[in-house]
């Protein structure tokens, strides 16, 4: 698994397109939100943190993971890896480990910068738990999306619904809260995780209530992984 991850890391740093998608775009978007926060002091800091985290995770992890998996399948690299002694789970883990680690580091940097320029989170551990749950959910959604993605170019289309949907939900939930349409907002992908980040950053909500919000996010993980096991393909269509 680590050998595959090492190979992937080399490829990420050799592919400018992936590098730009992964590093520059989330960083630029994050800088823009921080600029907005400076200009509009009334902007809810927890909501900004939630949106920033989702920006990095969707653009840095989700899109890159779908593109990577489609590309490796298209050039038969997945089949090549399956010709070795490594099982499928380790192959996928090896392929996704570098992009996941980079994303977690990015989220960490962005949130630390936000803490420094504004205020730190009220509950650091809960922020971490929300980030991890979101990352796992987006990996599951990436695997499922990769199942219907034929090529890296096709990924530009197939990733859009989840990318736009999750970003919209995180902004909607983050900035408007969940007092209205509570159930709908929490059940939408990213909704409960956004609320969790807002609670973790702003504080003032009992821990038990916040932890309950992990359940819908983990339910989305189950849904995504179930979908992925049904539709993920290791070889291009004949």
């Amino acid at each position: 698994m680590l050998a595959i991850a090492h190979g992937e890391l080399i490829q990420i740093f050799r592919n400018r397109l992936i590098l730009v998608t992964m590093l520059v775009m989330p960083a630029a978007s994050s800088a823009f939100y921080m600029y907005l926060h400076d200009r509009i002091p009334a902007l809810d800091l927890g909501a900004v943190a939630a949106v920033l985290m989702f920006l990095v995770v969707t653009m840095g992890l989700y899109t890159t993971a779908v593109t990577t998996l489609a590309s490796r399948r298209q050039n038969l690299f997945l089949k090549r890896l399956r010709s070795t002694a490594v099982d499928d789970t380790r192959i996928l883990a090896g392929l996704l480990l570098p992009v996941t680690a980079i994303t977690l580091a990015q989220v960490g940097v962005v949130l630390v910068v936000l803490s420094v320029v504004a205020d730190p989170p009220a509950d650091l551990l809960l922020t971490g738990a929300a980030t991890l749950a979101t990352v796992v959910m987006m990996i599951g959604l990436a695997l499922a999306t990769a199942g219907v993605t034929n090529s890296p170019e096709h990924a530009q289309v197939t990733t859009l619904p989840v990318l736009i949907g999750v970003l919209a939900v995180s902004g909607w939930v983050g900035f408007t809260g969940t007092e209205e349409l509570t159930l709908l907002k929490r059940l939408l992908p990213g909704g409960a995780a956004s609320e969790l980040v807002v609670n973790a950053w702003n504080g003032g909500v009992p821990l038990s209530e916040s932890l309950f919000l992990l359940a819908p996010t983990l339910a989305w993980v189950v849904v995504a992984v179930t979908l992925a096991t049904r539709i993920f393909r290791w070889e291009p269509r004949r």
């Binding site: 089949k79 090549r80 399956r82």
Partner: protein
């Protein structure tokens, strides 16, 4: 299927050790309504070079993929080293697979690709030695995306034979290779076989199979049309004599089929006697047999016979 006459219980005259490396029993592979492989059974013994040949769409790739463990059988059993070939941890460290198409990451270099796939195979070898074997030492630091088609095939071969596996699958190994590279590849295969490796080969170059295979499974429309040694496959068809004659030549001493271009084809099961008769006839009548060619049946002829059936 025609299972050719032989002296052994399983259709092979060579030394068959007790436990075959590959055992395929009543294999069926279906894609929806399409029946790609139909009730196929064969064994491959340790140290054998077994060639799986066939017409286009005969089911070779589906069979090979089922034996390699890339595709589940719809029904029937496939055992490699006595195990299910999809048991990667058990089977793959003993197996090298050269795929029909490249399957390398374009942004990795040649050395990185061999090292990666080698490590994942759980065998040990020297990357530099292997690159020397396939004449890619000068390309070690080159990205795969910058290799020619032939160089990619050699890279593929290098990863398949990394650590000298006990069983090697070679799927169209010499396609796109120049003659020197082909010779080098077959030399490497010969060395592997001297060390006891078993080889399963598919190729469109029939002369390679004819020269090197211990046994051949000849597929047509999803099942074996024939299986046996080269001599077993070819001896069921007559040898041929081809020549051209001047239009004024007297009647021939044996049945010959005009080919329409002034040439004749004689099919014979007694090549030496019929050729002698033909040469004597030409000598006696002062006739010139132009472009005379005579030879035993080749695999090409067996293939053509399948197509005409």
């Amino acid at each position: 299927m025609v299972r050719l006459p032989d002296g052994g219980a399983d259709g092979w005259n060579g030394d068959m050790p007790t436990q075959p490396v590959i055992e395929v029993e009543h294999l069926n592979v279906k894609y929806g309504d399409f029946h790609a492989v139909k009730d196929l059974s064969f064994h491959v013994g340790r140290g054998e070079l077994y060639a799986l040949l066939g017409t286009n769409g005969a089911g070779k790739t589906s069979t090979l993929e089922a034996v390699e463990g890339h595709r589940p059988a719809t029904s029937g059993t496939v055992r490699v080293f006595g195990s299910d070939p999809r048991d990667r941890r058990g089977v793959r460290p003993r197996t090298g697979i050269m795929l029909q198409e490249s399957g390398f990451s374009p942004d990795l270099t040649v050395r990185e690709s061999v090292r990666l796939i080698g490590r994942l195979s759980r065998r040990t070898d020297s990357v530099d030695r292997l690159l020397g074997v396939v004449d890619l030492t000068r390309k070690a630091g080159t990205k795969v995306s910058q290799l020619s088609g032939g160089e990619k095939r050699r890279l593929d071969f290098a990863t398949a034979v990394y650590g000298a596996p006990e069983l090697v699958f070679l799927d169209e190994p010499t396609t796109g290779l120049d003659i020197q590279s082909r010779d080098a590849l077959w030399e490497a295969v010969d060395r592997l076989r001297e060390d006891g490796s078993t080889v399963v080969l598919t190729t469109h170059y029939l002369e390679e199979a004819q020269q090197r295979a211990d046994r051949i499974g000849l597929m047509h429309q999803g099942s074996f049309h024939r299986e046996g040694t080269v001599s077993e496959l070819t001896r069921t068809l007559p040898a041929t004599v081809r020549f051209s004659l001047a239009p004024s030549a007297p009647a021939l001493p044996l049945p010959a089929v005009p080919q329409g271009d002034g040439s004749f084809l004689v099919e014979t099961t007694g090549l030496q006697e019929d050729l002698r008769a033909l040469l004597n006839w030409a000598h006696d009548h002062g006739a010139e047999l132009r472009d005379l060619q005579a030879g035993p049946t080749r695999l090409d002829d067996v293939f053509r016979a399948i197509g005409s059936e």
